[in-house]
């Protein structure tokens, strides 16, 4: 098994009035390719921060991060953008769809930042919508879709660049239990198809879908299973 993501002595702190707030303290973590990992922990423990560091949306104050064998230390904003574009898909708690924009266009949007003249963008976006079961809703705008459907559109958008890694920060946090479980079934399927899935949750029922769960507490990571 190869390693999808690994961090070595990863630390992060936020500057505060009079000092700094250390959120993550020397984290060492390895996530294997094809794994489905749940990150749990109390609110404010630093789950999102860890997630954002793993997804190269933030640069750590200290430590090393390796994504699919590439060292991220010293990469420029452009290089990090390219890495995200090609290998990492994000799903957010609040969906973050573009308002008044069709599902099709929402899903297609990331493709424009990763141009490939041989690819049929429309077709690829359509295919991703079909994968999440919304092939018949391509023309709908977010306000014409239910919460669960909106999150499916967001997942399709995360998949459109065919990433190896999918990061989801509380993807079911804004959904009811039943819809949340449907979303988790979808994540499980995607994981079975070979995508490494990392998700943050504070619900044990959601974490139960993962192969492995880790706990973030007091800036440290401990294994929960």
């Amino acid at each position: 098994m190869s390693i999808a993501l690994s961090c070595h002595d990863l630390s992060h702190s936020f500057p505060m009035a009079g000092g700094s707030l250390t959120v993550l303290d020397n984290i060492n973590l390895e996530i294997e390719t094809g794994e489905m990992l749940a990150i749990m922990g109390p609110s404010g423990s630093g789950k999102s921060t860890l997630m954002n560091l793993l997804g190269c949306l933030m640069t750590p104050v200290k430590g090393r991060l390796t994504v699919l064998g590439q060292q991220t230390a010293g990469m420029s904003r452009e290089q990090l953008a390219e890495l995200r574009s090609q290998h990492i898909g994000f799903v957010f708690q609040q969906f973050n769809l573009l308002a008044r924009t069709s599902a099709q266009d929402n899903v297609q949007m990331p493709l424009m930042y990763n141009p490939d003249p041989t690819r049929d963008d429309e077709q690829q976006a359509r295919h991703c919508l079909e994968m999440v079961g919304l092939g018949d809703r391509a023309g709908h705008t977010p306000n014409q879709l239910s919460g669960g459907q909106q999150q499916r559109v967001a997942i399709a958008r995360a998949l459109v660049n065919q990433p190896k890694i999918l990061l989801a920060d509380e993807p079911t946090g804004a959904l009811d239990t039943k819809t949340g479980k449907e979303i988790m079934v979808l994540f499980k399927e995607l994981n079975r198809s070979g995508i490494t899935v990392i998700l943050v949750t504070h619900e044990p029922e959601i974490a139960a879908y993962a192969d492995r769960t880790i706990m973030v507490r007091d800036g440290k990571v401990e294994s929960a299973t």
Partner: protein, 411 residues
């Protein structure tokens, strides 16, 4: 490829805020229209002045009999010096640098042909008037020396008079008109010159030989007899103007036996210089107007910048999302730059259309002289694109430098 998509993205976000986009564009529309209209009017005014200078003639001095009483103890007190045709002839004879010395007497009179009549200016001229003022004959001929001497009943008429009397100007030559009941044969038709600097129609005139006018037509009243108020002198070269002006005074003083230290019986003015001063003043004025118009364009540009800053702030979350899914800072920057350039260019093109329309419709309506300044049009559209980039750059860079996580969290 990505550029096309960035343009599409920019266009659709502008469409989404259509009202706001249009209002922002309005600033540019007004700015561009102002610039183009001001330039067009300025160029028009300039061209008009040039035409007037051309119509007036070049290297001209105006000799006027001054109204001060001259002669002092020698002459009779209060006796206003008169200029005569002999003075005119003497000037030309004694100063070789004088190419032409034109003079005329004027009166207003009714001109009749059949049932038609027209009130116009009657000028009794010497032949030099025609050459000094660049008059040309478009049909018929000019006066012969014989006709000048013998006070022949012949006339050369201006286009306006010809059109008013005959309907078709070219019919005039060979017809007999009546002025103060005196039959006069039209032997020539002048080429049109348009308006002078005061806006009066130069072509609204009937020219008679000086002698005819004085003796037969307007000389009925004896106070017009042989009395010349002004002489227009054309000098061979601009560099001789001042010298000839001084020489004219000398010659007149000698002929009228006025001592050197006594006030001159004539005033000599440099007409060409006066016209040039006028042309310069009109140039300065148009530049000033264009400058004001330029400021309004600048204000329009600031409006674009303002709205782009608002847009960037409003769409912080969208920017965060785009950065998260792989947009490079340059992609974000370009997207917003394109938006501001599109706003400016659409404004520029609409402004261009509007100003051309305004000039075409309102121009003749208000009697504006105007020249459509093609180079200024192209320049102002290109300039607006530069304004779009210039004023759009700061907001666009601000968007591009956002931190993706902070942008996504922005409320």
């Amino acid at each position: 490829m990505i550029q096309i998509q960035l343009v599409n993205t920019a266009l659709s976000s502008l469409r989404r805020n259509l009202m706001r986009s249009m209002l922002t564009t309005l600033g540019i529309i007004i700015g561009i229209s102002a610039v183009i209209i001001m330039f067009a009017l300025g160029e028009g005014a300039q061209k008009k002045v040039e035409q007037q200078i051309e119509a007036l003639g070049t290297n001209l001095l105006m000799v006027k009999s001054s109204s001060v009483s001259a002669g002092g103890a020698k002459g009779a007190a209060g006796n206003v010096q008169k200029l005569t045709l002999d003075d005119v002839a003497a000037l030309k004879r004694e100063i070789p640098q004088i190419v032409a010395a034109g003079t005329s007497v004027n009166a207003q009179a009714q001109v009749v042909w059949g049932n038609e009549n027209w009130n116009t200016r009657i000028e009794g001229i010497n032949l030099d008037v025609l050459s000094a003022h660049h008059w040309e004959i478009q049909a018929g001929r000019t006066f012969s020396e014989q006709e000048m001497k013998s006070a022949a009943k012949v006339a050369i008429i201006g286009e306006t008079v010809a059109e008013e009397l005959f309907g078709i100007a070219s019919m005039a030559v060979g017809e007999t008109i009546r002025i103060n009941k005196i039959p006069i044969l039209v032997i020539g038709l002048l080429k049109g010159k348009g308006e002078d600097m005061r806006g009066s129609d130069l072509d609204d005139t009937v020219m008679l030989p000086f002698s005819t006018a004085v003796r037969r037509v307007i000389g009925g009243n004896s106070k017009y007899q042989d009395r010349i108020k002004r002489i227009t002198v054309q000098v061979d070269d601009p560099s001789n103007m001042d010298w000839v002006a001084a020489e004219i005074e000398n010659v007149i003083k000698q002929r009228h036996r006025v001592a050197d230290d006594e006030p001159s019986p004539v005033r000599v003015m440099n007409l060409s210089q006066m016209m040039e001063t006028r042309a310069e003043a009109s140039q300065v004025f148009s530049s000033l107007l264009a400058g004001v118009a330029g400021v309004s364009l600048l204000v329009g540009g600031i409006g674009v910048m303002n709205i782009m800053l608002v847009t960037v702030t409003e769409r912080t979350r969208e920017i965060g999302l785009r950065l998260a899914v792989g947009a490079k800072p340059a992609d974000i920057r370009n997207q917003f730059l394109i938006e501001s350039v599109v706003l400016c260019l659409v404004g520029a093109l609409l402004g261009l259309a509007l100003s051309v329309l305004a000039l075409i419709i309102a121009g003749p309506l208000f009697g504006w002289e105007m020249v459509l300044p093609t180079n200024i049009m192209l320049l102002s559209v290109a300039g607006t694109a530069v304004i779009g980039i210039g004023f759009g750059y700061y907001p666009a860079r601000k968007a591009a430098n956002l931190d993706p996580i902070e942008a996504l969290r922005y409320e």
